[in-house]
Symmetry: C2
Subunit: 238 residues, 2 copies
């Protein structure tokens, strides 16, 4: 779709590269962080929400610190965000598959990146939950078989993701059952400076990747930090 809208900074969406990414359920911390990082990389980003007014409000807040930059981010309902060229699902984990089903006709044939982790707080820890197919991403792929579903962005701390003046380092582990989904996802990641997208195979591996977030949250709590994952032993990512 061509997004006709004007950003806070006055730039017209749809005029630069034509690369549009919609973030369904994008008003949470992870969605907001990713939207900013994608916009900083040159993407036109649609932040979707169940509520149009909520998405507008959140986008205004997001763009405020960056009024001097031409970040192309607009707020729209989820149903509109799903019309973008490529889509990220950033809803809470238990809404991912139901939301995907609801938007299925609009997601057909497209890349759908699932960034969710199914976690539950138990005492002072977060524990990983294993959904029916082992991972949220595999559940989503099963729910929308005509889309190209990948799992990615599970391990990047949301706050740092949104601090776009600071380059973010780390590896983004990507997996998908369809190789085109992996390729398109890594292409997006490679546009973000210092981040490296790694092909981690099929969605069978989304289970350990999603669940590993519980380990990072535990490290964050104990070591009072924002941890992420880096893979050693690889040179230049390929």
């Amino acid at each position: 779709m061509a997004i006709a809208a004007v950003t806070r900074a006055g730039a017209t969406i749809g005029t630069v590269g034509g690369m549009e990414i919609g973030i369904v359920g994008g008003t949470g911390p992870a969605g907001r962080g990713l939207a900013l990082r994608l916009a900083a990389a040159g993407y036109e980003v649609v932040v979707g929400s169940r509520s149009q007014s909520r998405s507008l409000e959140v986008v205004d807040d997001m763009l405020e610190p960056y009024a001097d930059r031409e970040l192309k981010i607009i707020g729209l309902p989820n149903s509109q965000a799903a019309l973008a060229d490529q889509v990220v699902l950033a809803t809470p984990w238990d809404a991912c598959a139901p939301t995907a089903v609801e938007l299925a006709p609009r997601l057909k044939g497209k890349l759908v990146i699932c960034m969710a982790n199914a976690l539950v707080r138990v005492g002072r820890e977060f524990h990983a939950l294993y959904p029916p197919r082992g991972s949220i991403a595999a559940d989503v792929q099963a729910a929308i078989p005509d889309s190209l579903v990948s799992a990615a962005f599970q391990h990047l701390p949301a706050k740092e993701l949104g601090e776009i003046e600071t380059p973010m380092t780390g590896d983004v582990l990507v997996c998908a059952d369809k190789s085109e989904a992996t390729e398109q996802t890594i292409e997006i990641i490679d546009k973000m400076p210092n981040l490296r997208g790694l092909d981690c195979g099929s969605l069978s591996n989304a289970a350990p990747i999603e669940a590993f977030t519980a380990v990072l949250l535990q490290l964050n709590r104990l070591y009072k930090t924002r941890s992420s994952v880096s893979i050693t032993g690889l040179e230049d990512g390929d």
Copy 2:
């Protein structure tokens, strides 16, 4: 126990620091690699096997390239390896809990490190299996409740582990239900130069840690390397 034996290099076991580690099922690649790395760090290591002659043969092979170093490694039956001050379970994953039960009286009150990953080959990938309690380590702790069970060393490539002339970098993710198990395990890791032991909470997190090995094996295959995990965002490990 005091191990009365003479290593290939002529040094008598039991005379240095008195720190003994027994590796039950230690004749496989991971056990051998860890035995060498522990011995290089000053430990006296007992490599256990179901077969006494097999353990002797393997230890002879292991020590051969390092004849000029005083590595204190001996081969003994598993039942003897289990008498060491601290024990590592390095059997195949499906033998971990049964072996622990068999050796339970000798493991009572002691640190038992579980380094297994439950993986199955499916086509060209390895997939993680989830045992009844989510991880091998949790199964083992349930099987020997009077021992201090930790999960550790899942992600270090076995070959590099054994190449003791080359310092090995990387993070060793440790979890345990009993804090003493975590502390003792991290103390061991900290004796190995450049390796950093990280407290990853309870054995609930052993599930994603063990399963994550499937991701590393996938990366090894695709990127033709020996990958491991490093956690970013932490400074100096604590």
